[in-house]
Symmetry: C2
Subunit: 383 residues, 2 copies
């Protein structure tokens, strides 16, 4: 990386015309040296390390877009032999550490120099890699279903997994509430569900991926990942904000060799632009597919935002693979045509509770509704 490289950060700031310039400078200082400027006695620090206000653009009479550039030098490791590697936690710190405490400041975009982004890495598989693993043509959406509710014993969750796999679902994920509880402990559950996947594949010739939910401290996550490797599991589900973004990135890069679905739990609402956080940052940190609540489900996220998240996850980015957008949160089989019209084929459709409303794993109605989902997703023509 070039020592002169700078990250461009865009904030949306509530301020008056007579205060915005001073406040923009205050944010640039807060996000870099965090001292009054008269304390910065060294010319190199003043020139290079202090954040620079690059532009201030009025949005309306009360809001401004403020572009600040920050030296990548402030966010890379020199010590520990890791030689100029981006430090994810420190990058977040410089981008929105202290300014996250200002009610009037929102983080709306971050642009990384190419080398910096590529050193972080992005998805190892991305939407195309997931397609390859399940043999899905590019002309149709991917499908996803969820094992729930928590409280069910392992055998019942595995039975559900088998029904979904035999009915043609591409990715079968744990409910994000499934952790390591006594009613379905992690290792036991992963073993049983993966067995159901393997048996379904043997019978149908179709490969589905099981994505167990990994949640816990870093040591627990590493132990969970070991279980996945031992059992030959094909995917993983992780909520990056829950485990922490730096822990998520390390888990993906160091411990997982399979596609990773990012769950939005604990992602908050609004102070960090959601297309930036889910579509861009989760992708940059290695999510191959990004789950988020679709418009008119259980969460009142605007339709335009859902489109933005999908576009951000898919948009070309040199050296960074596209991630699959996964609209969810109360979707139904009936909405599949509408979802495909909205997103096109480059999407993974996730239906959770609505499939289960048809019946439990022993009820043929569940397989029937699941097959209707799968064939619906395969037959709708994107417009």
């Amino acid at each position: 990386m070039n020592a002169e490289d700078r990250i461009k950060v865009r904030y949306r700031i509530r301020a008056t015309p007579d205060t915005i310039d001073a406040f923009a400078l205050a944010v640039a200082v807060e996000q870099s040296v965090e001292v009054p400027l008269d304390v910065v006695r060294d010319a190199w620090i003043r020139e290079h390390i202090v954040g620079r206000v690059e532009a201030v653009t009025p949005v309306d009479t009360q809001h401004y877009l403020v572009d600040v550039s920050l030296a990548t030098d402030t966010m890379t490791h020199e010590g520990n032999g890791s030689n100029d590697a981006p430090d994810i936690a420190q990058a977040l710190n410089m981008i929105f550490g202290n300014s996250s405490m200002h009610d009037r400041v929102e983080l709306v975009d971050v642009n990384f120099p190419e080398g910096f982004a590529q050193a972080i890495g992005g998805p190892r598989f991305g939407i195309d890699g997931i397609r390859e693993q399940v043999g899905a043509a590019k002309s149709r959406p991917l499908t996803c279903a969820a094992l729930k509710p928590q409280g069910l014993p392992t055998a019942e969750l595995a039975r559900l997994c088998g029904v979904f796999a035999r009915s043609g679902i591409d990715v079968i994920k744990d409910d994000h509430g499934l952790a390591d509880q006594r009613y379905a402990p992690f290792a036991e559950r992963v073993r049983a569900c993966q067995k159901a996947i393997v048996e379904a594949e043997r019978d149908t010739g179709r490969r589905a991926l099981y994505a167990p939910n990994l949640v816990g401290t870093p040591e627990t996550l590493a132990a969970n990942a070991r279980v996945l490797r031992e059992e030959g599991v094909g995917a993983a589900l992780v909520a990056p904000m829950l485990v922490g973004l730096p822990a998520f990135h390390e888990l993906v890069r160091r411990h997982l060799q399979v596609p990773v679905l990012a769950h939005p739990a604990f992602c908050g609402s609004g102070r960090i632009d959601r297309a930036l956080l889910l579509g861009k940052l989760y992708r940059l940190l290695g999510a191959d597919a990004v789950i988020y609540p679709h418009y008119m489900g259980r969460f009142a996220w605007p339709e335009a935002l859902c489109g933005d998240i999908a576009r951000t996850a898919l948009t070309p980015w040199p050296g960074i693979r596209p991630a699959a957008p996964v609209p969810a949160g109360g979707m139904t089989v009936e909405r599949v045509p509408e979802l495909v019209r909205f997103y096109g084929a480059d999407v993974m459709l996730l239906i959770g509770g609505s499939l289960l409303q048809a019946g439990d794993a022993r009820d043929p109605a569940l397989a029937e509704r699941t097959r209707a989902f799968v064939s619906g997703a395969a037959s709708v023509m994107p417009q």
Copy 2:
């Protein structure tokens, strides 16, 4: 822990009188089983695992306090031999995972069963433990200063550290922007600053604690903690939301044997009540001292909130030590009397840039202003 134990969570929800009851139930379901209730066919799951709405209390015509209880069973490890241990990431998930995505829901309080809280552990030292380590009487506030700005070379930061230690500061912390940058790599900086601390103690007979900033992925944090142990460093600074709350807890419990100051970077603003997050949760997860922006500094946090954070950090809690509140963010020597009137003696006063405005480490004015801070803190009588 008792299998019947439940965590009590309080949300503040924006709703109308005719929608609040249904929405309160929806939140209780979202935070537990996350499926339509008709899918919950098992009576035990319905009785035990599904979140219970315990109370709905109107605040005003548009807002309600909603108390929901959640089974601790949903947040404890059974597998991996860890036998009923709380899972921090999963607890966050159950408490505010999906509901964090609702603009209309804020998390305002969490009450843990005693056994659950004590299994998490809280501060290992707390405010009294820090006092012991630096020999500070309970009648005076603790003092803290910061090494900054980033960009200074290691030798200069170490020189600053020496001036602060010789001038009588109790805890000398890295600026939270100091990471592992090439201008002052972590291991080199820690070694040099700790040397300055040891030399000052040898000359003055007074012990100060140096708190280097630990930031990075879990592996980096563990490596940083190793450097602290090797160099005999007396404290550490960590931003829990930046590294992730589960990673913070594991770092404190598994890798650090010294008091830990929690920095508020990336803590956001408002969707999780700040007294809850900083005063209660950071404390529960092991912070011995909690830094936050005081009223009338660079951040516009209300005076009442600052008092709430301090009270929450200090309030008696069976088996959980009190943590030191550390008001900061633009404090000055002149404000010491006012701060002590507001907080009393159970506080750690942190002055950063304002000390450095007196001069650099070679300028006697810096030591002079620092001594004025120290003697001011020691002489003001709490009221």
